[in-house]
């Protein structure tokens, strides 16, 4: 078994891992190593051939491959090393165990570790959609991979369940390939993904979007033959009288993403039951102080631009830790979700007393219009901002200086504006 040592080890060469590795290098870490299980770098962006990336980070519109290429070029230029086709099996106390065809098993001793494994898709079975179990039911990302990386067409008549971004983007993609998208079906009365994707991917192609509907049955012995779609009531329970059976050969699911935390779980790092990702502080540091995390492994982001920013912070702090320059966490404050806030990331703030910018990302529980977003230390408001509307599908962001924190109670809340 070969032994490798490095300052910062990054697990995953997607957008999060690439940004973290660059920041770690720039912070002064000498040897930064990325371990990637795929045969090439870029992660999921490799199959995201559509534009829409980089609008906030680069202030220009890029495709997925263009976006990650900029980070990849930078990382390689700075001397970040990458092990491809290599799977991490375990993050142990004595080192990280990984394996590949080429090198067999290796053990990596690292000053710090950055988790950047991304996420996976929820399946039909996690939603308990009953019916038969034929071929032709794909998660949207699997279909995207087959089409954009394997050159394989997945079907001719398609129903898409869920208005997540990948689902809407695949609706357009499938239409462009000459197949028919019968409808995109969304359980809630609000969009799961970004409004701009609805406009550009559904409206522009006249693809029907059925809000407050769901798939209640799948038929077909071998390949999907039809799906049944029902309207749902106020409690999201299907109304049987509204059932319509759509003949189709494919059902795509875009019904949510789950941070991929098998390794985190195994390493006994604390995981939030709400985000399903590790609990982190503003340094993106997990409950194991030498392990940091960033990107969709922490919480599912809408925009890769946010992932890049968050990952730079993780990479920078991981390098500081490895070099012995990161302040020890002594006084830890929990950030509490208040009214209409589902979760906040980071969940904890280390109050070292000498300030520093804090960026809180959060999602609301339900859609609302004309609101005021407040951050409170005790009863005192530190920072507030107005929003015309908030939506669970779009992540919110607010920033302030840590110096403002004067109480152990730190709360984020969304209040209705007084008219």
């Amino acid at each position: 078994m070969q032994k490798i040592t490095c300052d910062v080890l990054v697990i995953g060469a997607g957008p999060a891992g690439l940004a973290a590795s660059i920041a770690a290098k720039q912070e002064g870490a000498e040897k930064v190593l990325i371990v990637e299980r795929d045969e090439s770098i870029g992660g999921i962006l490799q199959q995201c051939i559509h534009p829409g990336f980089g609008l906030s980070y680069f202030e220009e519109e890029l495709t997925g491959p263009e976006y990650y290429a900029r980070f990849a070029d930078k990382a390689l230029e700075l001397g970040v090393e990458v092990l491809l086709n290599t799977m991490v099996l375990d993050i142990g106390d004595t080192g990280v165990v990984c394996m590949s065809s080429k090198d067999g098993l290796s053990i990596i001793e690292a000053g710090s570790v950055v988790l950047a494994m991304g996420c996976r898709e929820r399946t039909r079975f996690q939603l308990t959609i009953p019916g038969s179990r034929p071929s032709g039911v794909f998660t949207a990302g699997t279909a995207q991979r087959l089409m954009n990386r394997e050159n394989a067409m997945v079907g001719r008549r398609v129903v898409i369940l869920g208005s997540g971004d990948i689902g809407m983007i695949m609706a357009r993609r499938i239409t462009l390939e000459g197949a028919e998208v019968i409808a995109v079906v969304e359980l809630n009365d609000y969009l799961a993904g970004l409004t701009r994707n609805k406009v550009q991917c559904l409206d522009d192609f006249e693809i029907p979007l059925l809000m407050k509907h769901t798939v209640t049955d799948i038929k077909g012995k071998k390949r999907v033959e039809s799906v049944t779609v029902c309207e749902v009531d106020a409690e999201n329970i299907p109304i049987p009288e509204t059932a319509v059976e759509y003949p189709c050969d494919t059902l795509l699911l875009s019904v949510g993403l789950i941070p991929e935390n098998e390794l985190t779980h195994k390493a006994e790092i604390e995981i939030s039951p709400i985000t399903n990702g590790p609990v982190v502080n503003q340094y993106m540091q997990t409950s194991r102080e030498d392990v940091f995390a960033c990107g969709n492994v922490v919480h599912v982001n809408d925009l890769v631009d946010n992932v890049s920013l968050e990952s730079e912070r993780a990479g920078q702090c991981a390098a500081k830790y490895a070099l012995g320059r990161l302040k020890k966490a002594e006084d830890v404050i929990q950030v509490q979700p208040g009214r209409n806030v589902r979760y906040i990331c980071p969940q904890e703030i280390v109050n070292s007393g000498d300030g520093g910018e804090i960026n809180l990302y959060f999602r609301v529980t339900g859609p609302e219009e004309k609101v005021r977003i407040l951050v409170k230390t005790g009863d005192k408001v530190i920072v507030q901002k107005r929003a015309l509307r908030v939506n669970p599908g779009e992540m919110e962001h607010i920033r302030f200086d840590a110096k403002e924190i004067t109480s152990p109670d730190l709360t984020v809340e969304v209040m209705k504006e007084a008219i």
């Binding site: 799977m87 067999g104 399946t123 699997t142 997945v154």
Partner: protein, 478 residues
């Protein structure tokens, strides 16, 4: 084509019979309508090796299940099958259930299952802390066990194959020719097979096969069982098979671990007309949730990774039958093989072989019978040192295809290239577990399709999920 014995059906029972008969100097052909060995009911059940404690005392089913159970210690060693004698607990939660325990124990004794014991409330909660804390007492049945049902059938079949048995897959029996009071031949979609013996192990379709020789004196009414599988990491797990106390109308829904560490919960029991109705239903799944929460209140349904259903080949009128006929030499008809079919398969092999001897089968014992079968090396089960040396010898062990279950490319190649190897994505899954984890094949499906296409030298559009017509991709985009 000419053979001595045609076995119809490559499920657990058909394959176990073929394996047992392959100990004799006989030419044996197994005919299976599906594209893979493994049957229908044999691949969608509760994966339990029963003791027979609740069988009908004195019945053939009781005799075979009770005989079969201890045989598993040896058979799983010889055939390299994952098996764990975890034991079952029947908790009595209500007063009414408490009153039923003595009768259940008495029945177990009449079935010669003598090791059933009472457990106190304290015993139960110590052994199985997730059981409903209102439990009053329980029965413990130590030899109720769990097994990998896919691999058991594959192992029977592969070992039978190693001993010269022929398998005709994707081949349907359309008729059986008789004459002079004997079976003459079996007509299949792959041609006619002349034979001296026909063994009907067609389970769900055994009534239709019996009809071909004019012996249909019963019907098969499929009884559907729906199940849940939960993630290995679910917060609420049990270590034993937790069985409900049966009511007059139903045996109820159980919760148990699988040999791979998942939780299995179910089944329903719904009598249907359609022998292909393996759908799950919203009502069926809900009824499982309601029932099982009475036994194990903290079950976390959010950790469900899949649901499936299977059809038990229920016989009307009821009962397990192995029939021979004075006016039709060479024909053996099995019917009423139900929930206990997987368990009793090994004993059924012996029973049928002995029956054939009593009917004049006098082929000698094979001198060079191969008793053992080696399974596919499972990378994930090895120590780090073993893994390292394996990759050194065969680098494809270093290439993980299924992330959730840590299945390597070499294991998938083994599944494809061994005798009676996998030809479809589901067949790969049942051999090496690729796609059985929490992402339910989201990540590995494209990779498995690619490997199958490469190894079988076929385009991706011809790689099926299982049967012909279950394609994944329509074709190349451009």
């Amino acid at each position: 084509m000419k053979t001595d014995v045609v076995v119809i059906g490559a499920g657990a029972v058909g394959c176990a019979i073929a394996r047992e008969l392959s100990k004799y100097e006989l030419d044996i052909t197994v005919v299976e309508k599906n594209e893979d060995i493994g049957g229908d009911a044999s691949k969608s059940n509760s994966a339990i090796i029963h003791t027979g404690y609740d069988a009908s005392p004195g019945s053939l089913e009781s005799e075979l299940v009770v005989a079969a159970n201890p045989m598993y210690d040896k058979i799983v060693r010889d055939l390299d099958v994952h098996f764990e004698p975890v034991g079952a607990i029947l908790p009595a939660i209500t007063d009414e259930q408490l009153e039923q325990l003595p009768a259940i124990k008495d029945k177990a004794m009449r079935n010669r299952v003598y090791d059933v014991e009472y457990l106190t409330r304290e015993d139960v909660l110590r052994m199985e802390p997730e059981i409903n804390p209102e439990v009053r007492a329980a029965l413990y049945i130590p030899r109720e066990s769990i097994i990998d049902p896919f691999v058991l059938v594959q192992a029977y079949a592969e070992n039978a194959y190693a001993n010269g048995v022929h398998f005709l897959l994707s081949t349907k029996v359309t008729d059986i020719r008789t004459g002079d009071g004997c079976v003459q031949s079996v007509i299949t979609t792959g041609g006619e097979i002349e034979t001296k013996w026909v063994i009907n192990a067609a389970a769900l379709y055994c009534d239709e096969i019996a009809g071909m020789v004019g012996k249909r004196c019963y019907d098969v009414v499929p009884r559907r069982g729906q199940f849940y599988i939960l993630d290995k990491n679910t917060s609420c797990k049990v270590k034993h098979i937790v069985l409900p106390i049966p009511t007059k109308t139903t045996k109820g829904r159980l919760m148990c671990p699988t040999v791979h560490g998942n939780m299995l919960i179910g089944p329903t029991a719904e009598d249907l007309d359609d022998k292909s109705a393996t759908e799950t239903t919203a009502d069926g799944l809900e009824s499982i949730r309601i029932d099982v929460e009475k036994l194990v209140p903290r079950v976390n349904w959010r950790d469900a990774i899949t649901q499936y259903s299977g059809l038990r080949p229920n016989r009307v009128p009821e009962g397990l039958h192995v029939d021979t006929y004075e006016d039709l030499n060479g024909y053996i008809n099995l019917s009423g093989v139900r929930s206990t079919g997987l368990t009793l398969s090994v004993a059924m092999g012996k029973y049928v072989a002995q029956l054939m001897i009593s009917l004049g089968m006098n082929a000698p014992f094979k001198k060079n019978f191969v008793e053992k079968r080696k399974g596919i090396t499972r990378f994930a089960d090895l120590s780090v040192e073993q893994q390292a040396s394996l990759i050194e010898k065969q680098p494809l062990y270093g290439n993980i295809v299924c992330r959730c279950e840590t299945v390597t490319e070499q294991e998938i190649l083994d599944a494809i290239h061994r005798p009676l190897g996998a030809r479809s994505v589901d067949a790969v899954k049942r051999r090496v577990r690729a796609g059985t984890g929490r992402c339910q094949a989201g990540f590995c499906t494209p990779k498995v399709i690619e490997i199958l296409a490469r190894e079988l030298k076929m385009p991706a559009s011809e790689i099926m999920k299982n049967e012909k017509g279950s394609y994944y991709v329509v074709g190349d985009m451009r």
